[in-house]
Symmetry: C2
Subunit: 250 residues, 2 copies
Amino acid sequence: MTIIFYDIPSSAPGSSWSPNTRKARYVLNYKGIPYKTEWVEFSDIESHCKKLGILPTSTKRAGGGPHYTLPAIHDPSTGAYISESTKIAEYLEKTYPDTPTVFPHNTIGLQWPFNDAYTSLLTPFWMFILPATFEKLHPVSQAYYRTTREAFFGKKIEELMPTGDAATKEWANCKEGLGKVSVWFEKTDSSGPYLLGDRVSWGDFVVASYLVWMRIIWGEDSKEWKDISSWDGGRWKRLVESLKEYETVV
Amino acid sequence: MTIIFYDIPSSAPGSSWSPNTRKARYVLNYKGIPYKTEWVEFSDIESHCKKLGILPTSTKRAGGGPHYTLPAIHDPSTGAYISESTKIAEYLEKTYPDTPTVFPHNTIGLQWPFNDAYTSLLTPFWMFILPATFEKLHPVSQAYYRTTREAFFGKKIEELMPTGDAATKEWANCKEGLGKVSVWFEKTDSSGPYLLGDRVSWGDFVVASYLVWMRIIWGEDSKEWKDISSWDGGRWKRLVESLKEYETVV
């Protein structure tokens, strides 16, 4: 039976843009598990999850109530509803053990904390990519995105983007952050583009999900994506291209 | 030839207590590489490193100059001087490829960022363990420890330790932090005590180094160590005991 995959739409090519949903989408495609996408606007995620009994993934910063996020999946063959990308990956590993693993060599315990280590280095990107993302959302999701992101940053989305010298400096910080991630890849004694060398795994999907977000939102011909593609010896462009076949949106 | 291993002494049993030096010590013992310890007081680390040409490992928080830390090693067979525990592990892997690896299955790229993900969850411990550590240092190192730690926390070492209800609450935060680390271990589908299941690796040495620090400073019979030993189904005591043979101080 076909898994239902809940993702957030946009006006960008392919519609799917969220790095968090992409992690799960990468895994579904990599494993070759049949699924189809159902699109849920930001503003509908909470009611959608409550209706289906999908668990919240964290606690809201403001007010402290349950926070519902995507990705989520429904697997009709087991009846399961699962939210949060690492939990989805873990569920698919256990439920479909004959598909290719994203946690080879029992590395799940090392891969689990990887996401936080990586995204903490991406912080300088948010002020650039969030306003651009906002522009690509459908109006009903824009309203939700504005409210939540402006509450988090304490300023209007239109004021997030740095300008002039500040932009140059902050963009250099973005490059420095990815440079530190590049060091992790360099440590692997291998010619492969992946964290484990020639063997793709969860950590690569995590890294690539944020890069694909940027490529999709800014576009391949943008100054930003061309910059990123030139950093670290072209590592990021190569990584994303090597995983292109798993970007498919169905 | 015998590697010289530079460690920080104390009045605790075995003298060695620092979690950062223990990471490298674990690796030397695990690999079975001959070494001997030379003890360097905190206050002498900078002059010691400068004299030998050992590189600083970071930048000082105050003033921004080079910050010299231990562990460091000198390998007379190559002439190399290496500082910082992950760099020492990497050096030993490359220089002694016939010894057991601490980065099995090409996991170095995943293991590299593990330390930060782990120690960020240990933050609540600092206010308890730092004052107790101070008590075990030799007087000349105490002076250095006081200056640097008090500058960092903005309060006197004697004021760090919480009391009453605050102590109960902060100790519960310590338990919660290790509980999150326990989840990473639980993910591994194996009966082994290690992050990769039955195969020890760098991440386990990182986790255990901080636990051994606590056991050494507080003592096996302390209320604190008995508490930690009881958490997460006894996971932490089991982990540390399974690595006991690699604690040797020579």
